[in-house]
Every structure is written in C-alpha cells, then in structure tokens.
Symmetry: C2
Subunit: 370 residues, 2 copies
C-alpha cells in the first residue's frame, strides 16, 4: 500500500496549497467560459456542501432552492409554466435534451434511426450525445458563423427529430437565427433545443440582442450554465422544457429513495452549487446582473478596438462577450485558445478588466515589434 | 422580473440559513449511502472551488491530484497499470462503463442489438444506461440477494456484451460472487463491470471479505464513489479500467480547449471534490480508513443484535455496512428507507454511532409496546 499510514492534517493541506499554485492564475486566463465564482457563491456553496438533491426528501430546504432557481430562469426566458431541473452543466443538459428528443421519435416511429441537425459550430457535447444515443448527426452550414436556415431546411427529412441551435457559441460568441429555425421546427413538428449555456446569462441583459427564448413559438428546450456567466460554482447547469411532462419520458423507478422516480442523468446531485446560483441571482438581481454583463460587452468592444488599432483584426463581430482575432503570436504569460479555424479566441468574463486587456495588447505589440 | 433589484448579502445568506434548517439533520438520517464529509474534505474542497478539470491545461496542479487519486485506487484494487478517471458518481461511472462495453460490441458486430446482464438488485442507473444506449437489460435471479452465476450462464448469448456485478448492493449490502461471474465473462469473452460504488471503500479494509477487484482475472472495470464511504464531498466518483485504452473508444475532439480530446460524460468537471478525496485518503491513510470502516461493520453487527433482541429480525446478514430488517413501524424523527421487498434498510455510515443506534432501538421498542 502506498500510504499505509496517514499524514497530519497540516501536512496534507500544505501539500495541497503547493499543488494549487501550479494551476494557472485566473488573471492570465482569457480562454475560459467559466467566470470566477462571486464571493457570495462561495459562501452559499460552503453552507450547503453536504446536501444531495439525488435524495430530495432528505433535503427539503435545498430542494426548494432548486425550484426557486428554475422559476427564476423560466421568468427570465419568458415561460413561467414550463419545467426544468438543475444539471451538472451544458454537456449533461444537451445529452438530456437530445435523449428526450430521440426517445420521443423512437416511441412514435419505432426502429427508424433518428437524425439531429446541429450547426457547424455546435459544442462537442453533441457528438458525445450522438455516440451515446446512436442518432445521426447532420451538420448544417453557417453564414458568418451562424446556422444557415436554408441548409437546415435541405437537411430535414422524416427521420429528423431535433434541430439544435446555439445562443452564444463557444468559439465565436454568435447567436443562431433562432426565430427562423424555430419556425422550421414548428412546420416539420420537430423538437428545437437552444444551447444557451453561455449566452443564456448574457443575452437577456443586452439591449437589442438576438432573440432565443421561449417567447419564440417552436422553442422546445433551453439550457444555460450558471457556472459560466452566472458566476456560480462548478457544477451548475440548468435545463428547461416548455412541456413539463417531457421529463417523464426519462423517468426510472428509484426504490429505497425519498422520491419515487428519477429522470436525471446523474444519481447523487450536489445541492451546494444550486445554493450558490440562488445566492448570486438574488444578491445581484436583474439590475446587478445587467450591469456586470453590459460591462463585459463594453470590454469586449474595447478589446476589439485596441487590437485593431495595433493591426490585428477581429475575426467577427460577436453577439456575446467572446472576442476572436486573426492569428497572432501570443505573449507570455497569457492563456488564450484557438478556434478550429485557427483564430485566437478570448472570453471576456467579468474578471477581464480594461487593465488586463491593456496589458495583453501592450505585450502583443511588443512581441510583434521584435 | 421577479427580482429586478438585488438583496444585501446578509439578507440572502440569512434566507439560505433558514432554508438549510429545513433539511433533515444528519444525525437522524439512517438511509443515506453518502457519509458526512470529513473535516479535511471540506477544507480541501474550498481551496480548489474554482478549478475545472474539463480544461486540465489551465489546472495542471489539480490535474496531478486526479492522477494521484486514480493511482491510489489502482493500488487499492490491485492493478497499478490500469487506467481511470474521476466522475460525478456511480451513475455516470456505470453509464460510461456500459457505453464502452456496448460500443465495443457494436464496433465488432454491427447492427446487432447488444444485451447486458445485471443482478435483480442492480442500481437503477443501469436502467438509465439501457435507455440511453439502447441495449437490452437482462435481469439475473439472485440467491440470498447475490447474483446467481447459473442463471447468468443461461442468459448469455452471442449478443451479450457485458455482465454487471455489484460489490456492496444498495438495498441489502451484499457482494455478488465476482470470481465465478468473472470466469463466465472470460469464457465468453465479454466485459465484466463491478459496481463497487459503496463497497469499493469498505471491502478492501475488511478481513476475509469477498473478493471483487482486478486481482480477479476477467474483471474489466470497477467503479467506486469517494462521496459515499470515502467521506469526500459530492460529487466524487471514480471509474477504473483494466485496459487504459478503453477510454479511447469514447473520445471526441475538443477544439479550443487546453487538451485535444475528451472521453468524459460531462464537460466542465469540478476539481474541488478531487482535492477533497485526495485529502481524506492521504490524511487517514490505509490504516485510518480501516479503523473507521471496521467500526462501521462492528456497529452494523451491534445494530442487528440489538434489533433482534427486541424481536425484529434481520432480513439478511450483509457483506458491508448496510443493515436490513423485517418490516416494522418507524418512530419519529428517524429517517430510514425501504427495499423493493418491503424490508427496512439502514446504512451504517461513520456518523451512525452506537449511541444513535441505542436511541433508535429504544424508540422502536417504545412504539411497539404502545
């Protein structure tokens, strides 16, 4: 046995501190969609650390928080009588949405392999879902990094069970033309899922933002991640369905638990991030969120202008706070990422201030002058 | 908007404290497989709260913790050169194991619907996996709540891709005859998955416990949940594979992240519970874990004896620290649960002391005398 005997608490914690220092400091990370958690998120998380929503009868207080968080999002996304649940994040939400869409299809058209249409920029979680669920993934072309409804229309056939659209894409921060796609979905009586993992907590706070929510007829489900722009703790995802009973399709019996069925992808489910999400939303309110999000968008525009002023052009003008630039050398110690097309990509979360942006731009300029 | 304006931090935290008090106090919960987190688990969790293993290049320190935790378990389960990863818990681990087993089958025998054999007592996560992955679930009979190898043998056919066995069942705390089942799996060249979500951190610390690990030829994968008997924080699961490259089957490309592929069911993955698991295992060491687990087993035996002394008989003599009794009235305020067969079920986690057991038995006796 590698450690037959235990180590003193101080020794273990000192070791952990040392290891934690090897993680990249948040102030140099420009590539992450997960915002730094808000201080109130951290406090709420600690208060609910041992809670398990997989057995909600034991945690009836925590369970009311889940209901309140869902209700907050249904209000934000304009469909108070829809249903929803907390998940571990966008990937689980997307898998669950597709699980319902494909199962509905199989229940009505047995033995026919369903297909799902996604935009070229869709997150890789849809490929995971396709492998798990065995559906065919049909990739629609994009115009300026937004899904092209005309191509979607060509791809639809009798085995199409779902159109996936993205509101705030991971790579370029773009919003698909959801109203046009929802109209198509409605016409063909198919499911429409909106992946708003990032944009769901950005777009509602912007003036003249593209529409994506339940106010659009034909939108069946929406997911959003509070651990991204909601400044909550990881893992915090939300999945919402216009028809509450969609979840019944996924229910299995749960003997020996305090409730009778479960439709979740996971069993044990942490209550701490739910409390954390609740705390941020109620502490900031709509106005507080709006202020933070509008600042992020302003910083995104500032970033683009400053980069273009030194000759590095934007790849696209984004709908949400993701800035992408033509390829350039990346100075130390900054951490950015690259899109499949080779562009440099940054996510302007709340901790990316104008000072940080100035430092980056200065460093890029220096590096280019060498 | 329901809350246009935010609330002061103290107001939100006071509200959360009030809500938290509506959760059942842990000292009355006899039904949960999740042990109360160890104090060092809580401290380690806080230190790593913002870390995301979904993007391990940004969290290279935290990523080494995942590797160390996996290595600790491979050592414990006697196969140092196997592979593994951290998951959100047993359900995700079981889905991933079955995902690999069925995918392997489909790659070799295209278009044939695979089947998976599970014991009657298997956790409901296998039903979730069957729905997701579309395999046929074949339920094997049990003898004294343990999977019957003879019936398994009858159920195997050319489309069988996996046998699932349980080491420490949720309902009765029993261990299936893993060596016999592994021999069958080997003979038919099929995958054998051991669900040791609960028992995986009990059995290695008991003398003369039934065997279940990689020392048995034919065992392909094992899952274990540190947030159960490992006293870690939620969500902590571990999935181990004898063949490291099994994970490749599930890999998808991950553009824009700090690593190139992902085989996980989730995207964003919390690093905090990994640090938490690391802290408990290294603080207690093998000896410390052994002491706690042996005490739980002693308390389980004590519970059974005390209940039988007042005329309420055990349903079965368990292999791990789960006590089940013939149906009886449950006194307030105790929270127990019931098996599908109607027996009363308790999980004797470390916080269930002899004092708590005495209180319960006294209350049951009083209630019966009324």
């Amino acid at each position: 046995m590698q450690n037959r005997y235990g180590l003193a608490e101080e020794v273990v914690l000192a070791r952990l501190e040392e290891i934690r220092r090897k993680d990249t400091p948040p102030s140099t990370i420009f590539s992450s969609m997960c915002a730094q958690p808000h201080p109130i998120a951290v406090r709420a998380h600690s208060m609910f650390l041992p809670t398990n929503l997989g057995d909600p009868g034991l945690f009836q207080g925590t369970a009311t928080l889940e209901a309140e968080v869902i209700s907050w999002f249904l209000d934000l996304f304009q469909c108070q009588d829809a249903g929803g649940c907390i998940t571990s994040g966008g990937t689980e939400s997307n898998i669950q949405a597709l699980s319902i869409a494909t199962r509905q299809h199989l229940l009505s058209k047995k033995h026919m392999r369903p297909n799902v249409i996604v935009p070229a920029s869709a997150h890789f979680s849809f490929e995971k879902a396709a492998r798990l669920l065995g559906f065919e993934l049909r990739v629609a072309r994009e115009e300026t990094h937004r899904m092209d409804p005309e191509h979607v229309s060509e791809l639809i056939d009798k085995q199409t069970c779902c159109i996936v659209t993205v509101a705030g894409s991971t790579e370029y921060g773009m919003v698909d033309p959801v109203p046009d796609l929802a109209a198509l979905a409605k016409e063909h009586e198919i499911f429409l899922h909106v992946d708003a993992a990032f944009g769901g907590l950005v777009l509602p706070f912007l003036k003249e933002a593209p529409r994506f929510d339940f106010s659009i007829d034909g939108v069946s489900s929406i997911c959003v991640d509070p651990h991204k722009m909601g400044m909550s703790t990881i893992p915090s995802g939300v999945l919402l369905f216009r028809e509450q009973n969609f979840f019944d399709i996924l229910s299995v019996d749960t003997p020996y638990l305090s409730k009778k069925t479960s439709f979740h992808l996971t069993g044990t489910r942490p209550g701490a991030p739910v409390a954390s999400t609740y705390a941020v939303l109620h502490h900031l309110g709509f106005d507080g969120m709006q202020e933070i999000v509008q600042q992020c968008m302003e910083n995104t525009r500032y970033f683009i202008e400053e980069m273009e002023a030194i000759g590095i052009m934007r790849a696209v003008t984004p709908d949400v706070n993701v800035a992408t630039f033509h390829p350039h050398n990346i100075p130390e110690p900054w951490v950015v990422s690259h899109t499949r097309g080779g562009d440099v990509r940054m996510v302007i979360t709340p901790h990316i201030t104008c000072e940080l942006i100035d430092s980056y731009v200065t460093d890029v300029k220096k590096l280019n002058e060498k």
